[in-house]
Symmetry: C2
Subunit: 239 residues, 2 copies
Amino acid sequence: MSQHVAKAYREELLLLDHKIAQMGGLTEHNLGRAFDALSNQDLQLAEHVILSDKEIDRLQVDIESQVIQMIALRGPLAEDLRHILGALKITGNLERIGDLAKNIAKRSRATATEQYPKPLMGGLRNMVDLALSQLKDVLDAYADRNADLALSVWARDEQIDAMYNSVFRELLTYMMEDPRNISFCTHLLFGAKNIERIGDHTTNIAETIHFLVHGTEISTDRPKNDDTTKPANDPRDQG
Amino acid sequence: MSQHVAKAYREELLLLDHKIAQMGGLTEHNLGRAFDALSNQDLQLAEHVILSDKEIDRLQVDIESQVIQMIALRGPLAEDLRHILGALKITGNLERIGDLAKNIAKRSRATATEQYPKPLMGGLRNMVDLALSQLKDVLDAYADRNADLALSVWARDEQIDAMYNSVFRELLTYMMEDPRNISFCTHLLFGAKNIERIGDHTTNIAETIHFLVHGTEISTDRPKNDDTTKPANDPRDQG
């Protein structure tokens, strides 16, 4: 490969990472705003988020076509091929996170006019705060190729799952106490599940980073703690 | 490329499609069994499904590493590159469908001992039946590179969305009628959402096939009809 071609190739790899960072930043921004729209019953903000998800989708299409072009033109090998295919995976996860944030924003439409007990939103807010900090860390880990930071993101996903389990049970209690809460709480249940899924996609990105840096999978099983599918009378749920 | 190498290359492409077919067949099988486990409250079957999802995951890892190897060794171009990256996308969608089927099976654990009015399951059964027929068609469309069949799968996803909307409202009604239904219905709500998502992933596969065959995106917007996030007092919901 001539020096000129090698330089152009390096620049393409940098551009790829730049687009991932841009897509990640927008996704993070949208998730925060989606939750604000839901909790403040701010329909205008919700519509902004829904609309700007198209920009995230556009970036994914852009990254995908750059990946195809680079594979066809550069014939990447070993580490570079891992880099390029890693970016392809990460862009897929970011697109899904964007979609899930959009779904949270959409739930504002169904809930904007409903009265609800304010403490209801507390559990969700904690989940979103953690999901946002995880997303920020995983994007930093990608930019710096920091496998240790990626591993700590991966391990911390358990906490989001634990929060989800507690929010799930709390919302069910509200629904049983007063049937007028059912519709609103159902939307929050889906919102909570969306955040839990965002945590999973963030974990997937962490796994990809680990593979990029070390060339091996994370060796232990991924922490997975959605125990809301356990029997309702599971003794672990008592008290 | 020598004749020998060209033959080996063709065989690798065939092997890739063979693995996709195998993964798709297993996913279809698991979805049907997951629903049977849930509706018949058959915990043993549920555990079978949960366990056999690992085989689906294993196939994905296998396909991904074959893709990386083929890109590195064969330097695929144009149509072949589209084929290989298409397989990579489809395997990702199938893995998610497998996961969602596993989630449905897992809900059996939480609901196996609960009494529930049998008609409750009817709406979900219709959804699963359609999702299964869509999945079968999209796998056939991939095997035969039949873009027309893929397009008809893509268009029919609206029907799953419409069913989901009606199941969502029906389940909410049951919950409001009798708080003892809340826990069970919540699990069914998530189950219904899982099937709706399976429809989306099937649609994604249809889009990939269209791109494989024609080299262009499907030109109209994807039908998307989850209107459960519309305001609860939307006039379209009355009567």
